[in-house]
Symmetry: C5
């Protein structure tokens, strides 16, 4: 998984039926020192994440292994809100 911060929302009226009801958020990927990288993703929210939250997301088919994203055309899902990253 990767880390990121929520930096916005994506609004779509016309979309695949199964995507209805999912919240789509802009995720700015961070490295493990919590510095922003150049990578952005649009991810489905499964944990009620909000603007500025540090989150963890899963990509690919793993993004569909949640109650909310199962069987949907979602290749990126926010699956946790990160309390801390503890480097040793």
């Amino acid at each position: 998984m990767k880390l990121g911060r929520i930096e916005g929302t994506v609004v779509c009226t016309i979309k695949d039926d199964r995507l209805k009801g999912l919240k789509l958020l802009v995720v700015h990927e961070c490295d493990v020192h919590l510095e922003p990288t150049n990578a952005f993703h649009v991810a489905a929210d499964t944990v009620q994440a909000g603007p500025g939250d540090l989150i963890m997301f899963a990509s690919g088919s793993s993004a569909r292994q949640t109650e909310k994203t199962h069987g949907k055309a979602i290749d990126c899902a926010i699956v946790a809100i990160v309390d801390s990253v503890n480097l040793v």
Copy 2:
């Protein structure tokens, strides 16, 4: 998922049987500021997207999680037309 703009079509007469009837579009990937990147994709359309539309696409096995692409050799599908990207 990622964002992109429709910039063309791909026409194929000889193709895998299951791909028949699918519309194949050229997607020019954008970043979240809607600036074009260097990445292009050929994607199956599932939402009647047209030239110039700002769209969201899903990649990998997630591209097959729609009525139109299920069980087909499609690794990139347009799954929504984007109304707005709201950065915070």
Copy 3:
């Protein structure tokens, strides 16, 4: 999906049993302007593509969604011969 040109063949005598009978071709990836990129792939042919043909290929699990590649260790398959790419 991505575009490419057929630039060769790969011959393997010793291989996983399920790969027997599949034609393996060298694909030189192109961009949507049909200019060659730096990327090459070995892909299973499903559409009788020949040297120089402009083709479309699918990657990952999507490469297995054809009659010929189903259930096989194929992560790249040629799934169409491209007649034209029409940019708008």
Copy 4:
């Protein structure tokens, strides 16, 4: 698979239900000469790895092919502790 060293932990209180009980570790990817690269991952631990351990991890859907990660939103899992890499 790729190699890496354990360099920390990630703590999340709010997370997808199925992730509960999984230990999430920071993996700093290494090359085969065991030199660190620029890539970092958050991975689920399946082998009781600890700080500084040289490990092997699997990515994508393969990360879910263990007892501990099956059916969970995990796209990176630590699946072995590496004793030695023997180059020839």
Copy 5:
């Protein structure tokens, strides 16, 4: 699929149960001109490959589509020994 040369072995005593009995090899990725690239992988062997062999490997879920790797946390598998690459 991609090409590579076998350049070593990886030994792991502590590993996911399902990985027991699999031979793990270091693969140095080559381009189609058989020149080494900068990419290395740890791959499961399914064809009795040995040091120096030119091989073809499959990545992602496709790496699990062999008798030996089915259902295991393997994201890269050696699936053929390459006799020749014939560019046209």
